[in-house]
């Protein structure tokens, strides 16, 4: 992974000093709360329902074991002994003390970590595929580009106060595992006819209250133009994005208003001035950064380890885990492993300090000392020898990190919701737990198979409910929590925004409604169909009918498609 040189370290150390000074001036009454607010947000500090929340960047999901141990230590010293992984390669601490946050940043800087631009109306933490560098279907490793973008975006002087937040994702594999079309800029690594690396550029995607998939701005952008082209997009957005209404300030609204053709024309006109300028990426710089992501010292191993196969035959629990949590690797004899953070009873994405240390130890012993965070809120060891998998499983299981549910119904993406987040309209964690509890039977879960169920506590959509097969959105109606269900969303190459099925449900109804949707699938599926396949083949009507069967308690006032819940509060509290 990327290791700071003395300049990178100095910049991060100076950032800590800047933030420390800002907080000191604030506490001395020299910097008002209003003037501090955008500054602390760009250092990851929110003020939430119960107090501060500190969002730490895990740039493009890469973590060293030392970094994870540092997160564990911070969680013990400054929080309550756990952290929460978000959908954007961040870790959130929910219980820090406001005045101790400069110390947290100083601690992080000692392991080359930070909270730079994890919030605020600026370029956020760049995200990517959690299998980057090891995926068999990968065209090129996206991480060097992520790091190059990270450095370019860090304290960019022109783009610190954009109309709204700005998210960039990069995918380098045949399958999109970074939801790139749900980002302000999505970059897909492609080759042109001559075999040169470049990017297919999507712009204007995003979830939130107006979910829109990104549109193609460039079929092929040569690699060297990466930064100058992004800079042109950002400049057009900075100058012309709406600032009068925070709900309409994302770049997707500008792209929609102008139309993709006019937007492209404006970007190209701006880029014509920047093309081949100093921001043009040099081969030297690419090589310098890419060298940090060189493959580790893999052993030469047979493609299939005999002992690994035998263990699966002997131990059904292990076999179940392998089936769901072990993934193909491009190097023979190796595998990638997901350490599930979706055990029933724990908030999705939460991890204790003990688990962090155990995962760091596993990484040191079995995966070259590195880990990944996925946007599905799990932790991964991506370079494990097949012959070590049984041992890894046993250790992970002892730490409650081996729930064999990856890609299954209980592997849900879920935001912290109303229990913690001051933006939320409704709680999401109790809903997640209720659904997990209802589907706690492993055999049944495995029988249901591949499915995604995501939960957001408000229409800011941090829980990615728009792009899951079953989406649950918390809404507030007259100070009561209600839950709207969407069907048919999916991520990946066929990314689709789900559709609302009708009036919302009470919290108590949600597990039974999910059960009804699953029953319809079980009854109608063909042997090879996943939930989404059956849904697409038969349409949503049978699902809707079952979901509302016996629930005809809709009042006229809310009977109309109540997709107009209380307006969400804009993020950046």
């Amino acid at each position: 992974m990327y290791r700071y040189d003395s300049t990178d370290q100095q910049i991060i150390d100076e950032r800590v000093a800047q933030y420390r000074d800002q907080m000191a001036r604030h506490l001395a009454g020299e910097l008002s709360g209003d003037d501090l607010r955008p500054l602390r947000l760009q250092n990851g500090l929110y003020i939430q329902r119960h107090g501060p929340m500190h969002r730490i960047a895990v740039p493009y999901g890469m973590l060293s074991s030392a970094q994870l141990r540092k997160l564990a230590e911070i969680s013990r010293r400054y929080d309550r002994g756990f952290g929460h992984f978000t959908t954007r390669h961040n870790m959130q601490f929910n219980w820090p003390k406001f005045e101790e946050t400069p110390e947290i940043l100083a601690e992080l800087a000692t392991v080359q970590m930070h909270a730079v631009q994890t919030s605020g109306n600026c370029v956020r933490n760049v995200t990517t595929d959690h299998f980057a560098g090891v995926a068999p279907d990968e065209l090129a490793d996206p991480r060097p580009y992520c790091e190059i973008i990270r450095q370019w975006s860090t304290f960019h002087p022109e783009f610190a106060f954009l109309p709204r937040k700005f998210k960039i994702a990069v995918n380098g594999a045949a399958s999109d595992r970074a939801v790139i079309r749900a980002h302000d800029i999505g970059l897909e690594i492609v080759r042109d006819e001559a075999g040169s690396i470049g990017f297919k550029v999507f712009v204007g995607g995003g979830l939130g209250r107006t979910p829109i998939l990104g549109q193609v701005a460039r079929e092929f952008l040569p690699r060297r133009h990466l930064l100058s082209y992004i800079e042109a997009v950002l400049r057009v957005y900075n100058r012309y994005g709406r600032r009068d209404n925070a709900y309409k300030a994302r770049i997707k609204i500008l792209v929609q208003a102008l139309g993709i053709e006019e937007f492209k024309r404006q970007v190209e006109a701006e880029w014509a001035h920047l093309e081949d300028g100093p921001a043009t990426l040099t081969d030297t710089e690419f090589a310098r950064v890419a060298a940090h992501f060189a493959p580790p010292a893999y052993e030469s191993l047979p493609a299939a380890d005999a002992g690994f196969a035998a263990r699966q035959n002997d131990d059904k629990a292990f076999a179940n885990w392998v089936k769901r949590n072990v993934h193909a690797h491009k190097v023979p004899g190796y595998a990638a492993v997901t350490l599930s953070l979706k055990k029933t009873g724990a908030a999705p994405g939460d991890i204790t300090d003990t688990q962090m240390c155990a995962a760091a130890d596993l990484a040191d012993r079995y995966s070259f000392g590195e880990l990944r965070v996925s946007h599905e809120q799990n932790l991964l060891l991506v370079d494990v020898k097949q012959s070590d998998l049984y041992t890894v499983w046993q250790i992970a299981r002892a730490q409650d990190l081996a729930t064999p549910n990856i890609g299954l119904l209980t592997d849900m993406i879920c935001c912290p919701g109303g229990d913690l987040c001051s933006l939320a309209n409704a709680r999401s964690l109790p809903i997640a737990e209720a659904v997990q509890t209802k589907f706690d039977d492993l055999d049944y879960l495995h029988d249901i198979g591949d499915i995604s169920l995501n939960i957001s506590g408000c229409m800011n959509s941090c829980g990615h409910h728009h792009v899951s097969n079953i989406g649950i959105l918390g809404v507030d109606k007259n100070n009561e929590e209600w839950y709207q269900i969407t069907l048919g969303g999916q991520q990946g190459n066929d990314a689709t925004i789900g559709k609302v099925i009708g009036p919302s449900f009470t919290a108590e109804e949600v597990p039974a409604v999910i059960g009804a949707l699953i029953d319809v699938y079980i009854e109608l599926r063909t042997p090879s169909e996943r939930f989404i396949d059956t849904l697409q083949r038969v349409g949503s009507e049978p699902f809707k009918a079952r979901a509302y069967a016996g629930r005809d308690r809709r009042k006229p006032a809310v009977a109309a498609n109540d997709a107009q819940p209380t307006p969400a509060k804009v993020a950046n509290a």
Binding site: I11, E30, T154, P157, E158, F161, N238, R243, P278, T282
Partner: protein, 173 residues
């Protein structure tokens, strides 16, 4: 006399920032004597008259651009302007950073670019990077303390006006 920060030092400043009041029109409003920063609308309406006035030593002239007003409107006039102001109606409105860079990098303006409006200590570093060299800070700001804001970072990643080569080109050297 009011003070501003200019080229890294606190200096007395005699420029008047002129704004159109309600009911006044750009074409007819009476303009005070002395160094004057006029709104873009006044400049566009009375370019000949103001250019002649600006040639007098006692009446140097500048134009200020509001956040939504691009420097394109001044592209042909810049050699006649001693100062171009760029306004920050709120410090969280970042449009004028782009305006400043365009003035320097695209239109080659070498005169003073002055930050106006909600200009605060914590944004000075980025403003200077974008080519702003004079700062009329918000009235409550302590100018002596704010000078430290230019020294926040000793190195930067991106190309900008103050450092036309990105770090990666200098690292490679």
């Amino acid at each position: 006399m009011p003070e501003i920060i200019k080229n890294g030092a606190i200096v007395a400043d005699s420029w008047q920032l002129f704004k159109l009041a309600a009911g006044e029109t750009a074409e007819t409003v009476a303009l005070p004597a002395g160094p004057l920063l006029v709104p873009l609308a006044v400049w566009l309406a009375r370019r000949q008259e103001l250019a002649a006035r600006g040639e007098a030593d006692s009446n140097p002239l500048g134009v200020w651009l509001d956040a939504g007003e691009g420097p394109e409107a001044l592209a042909g006039d810049l050699d006649r302007l001693a100062v171009v102001g760029v306004n920050f109606p709120k410090f969280t409105d970042g449009r004028s950073y782009s305006s400043a860079r365009l003035l320097r990098e695209r239109y080659g303006y070498t005169g003073e670019i002055r930050a106006l409006g909600d200009v605060l200590y914590d944004q000075l570093f980025a403003m200077r990077r974008c080519g702003i060299d004079a700062y009329a800070l918000r009235a409550d700001q302590n100018l002596e303390k704010a000078l430290a804001g230019f020294a926040t970072f000793s190195e930067t990643y991106q190309a900008a006006v103050d450092q036309p080569q990105p770090l990666f080109r200098r690292r490679a050297a």
